[in-house]
């Protein structure tokens, strides 16, 4: 993302994704979920070609309000994502990446494949950092 503002397309796609996830939390049986997901997709598809941005923004706003009214109180959240059970669980055990440079050569000899390519990888990363805009 270059700027902090989302484009209309991005907003619509995010609404679609979160509404599908909440629908999945409501319809726990897979075939029932599939049926209602197809209906939801048809609703998104019929208004897909709207060229008038004012009308499209109004539709997006009403869609967001409908989502807010129909959301699930305890939606399924993946364990590793924010709000999930395993979010940041192993964060205290993660070691920063530069520690690998401080290993003893006898320890480095235990993983020869990785360390032989590590210098190349670091160079690539420096190049990427200097050329990317972020």
């Amino acid at each position: 993302m270059a700027s902090a503002y989302l484009t209309h397309q991005q907003k619509v796609l995010r609404l679609y994704k979160k509404s599908l996830r909440h629908l999945e939390s409501w319809c726990i049986f897979r075939d029932k979920y599939r049926f209602y997901a197809c209906l939801l997709r048809a609703r998104f598809d019929e208004n897909k070609g709207e060229k008038d941005m004012v009308k499209a923004t109004m539709m997006l706003k009403s869609g967001e309000e409908e989502f807010w009214a129909n959301q699930h109180p305890q939606p399924y959240i993946f364990p590793d994502s924010p709000g999930g059970t395993s979010y940041e669980r192993y964060e205290c055990y993660k070691v920063p990446e530069w520690v690998l440079d401080h290993w003893h050569p006898s320890e480095k000899a235990m993983y020869p494949d990785y360390f032989s390519k590590r210098e190349q990888w670091k160079k690539l990363r420096m190049q990427k950092r200097s050329t990317s805009l972020l």
């Binding site: 397309q9 796609l13 679609y16 994704k17 599908l20 996830r21 998104f44 364990p79 994502s81």
Partner: protein
């Protein structure tokens, strides 16, 4: 008497541990010798069960370290196979035309809503969420495989 039984224990456990160490040097060396060393100590206490000594099976390569309640390790190959399998199940994609480098929008003629559905299927397959900011940039199966390998630290 107890010393002789202990010697038999150590010798018969040294034999399979030699086999393990010589065959698989590439695997994490720390786990195997310590596991082999600790076994005679624990079996010295139960020296009555001498029949068990010769029957330790040589486990396969990936199982030399202890496995707690975790999934089998991911490799780039398995990630690619799973991604392509899920894509072939999607009915808007023609399975013959699917390659790892085929772009969803340009080659396969899919929509942005279809791409969202594909990313959701990948999230369901691999069990972790792909945030929206990064999901909208994944446009080929190759990129999806690389992203998953990045997140899961597979042959980085």
């Amino acid at each position: 008497m107890a010393a002789r039984v202990l010697q038999q224990c150590v010798r018969s456990f040294a034999r399979p541990s030699l086999r393990l160490c010589s065959g698989n040097l590439a695997v994490r060396a720390a786990a195997a010798p310590t596991a082999a060393l600790h076994r005679p100590l624990s079996f010295a206490a139960d020296s009555r069960r001498t029949r068990w000594l010769g029957q330790s099976r040589t486990p396969s390569v990936g199982v030399l370290c202890r496995q707690y309640g975790d999934l089998p390790p991911l490799t780039l190959e398995t990630i690619k196979d799973r991604v392509l399998y899920v894509l072939k199940l999607y009915d808007k994609i023609n399975p013959e035309k699917l390659q790892t480098t085929s772009h969803f929008m340009k080659d396969l003629g899919l929509d942005s809503l279809d791409q969202v559905e594909i990313i959701m299927a990948m999230e369901d397959e691999f069990g972790f969420e792909i945030p929206d900011a990064e999901a909208e940039k994944l446009m080929t199966p190759e990129e999806i495989v690389q992203y998953i390998a990045d997140k899961k630290d597979v042959y980085e």
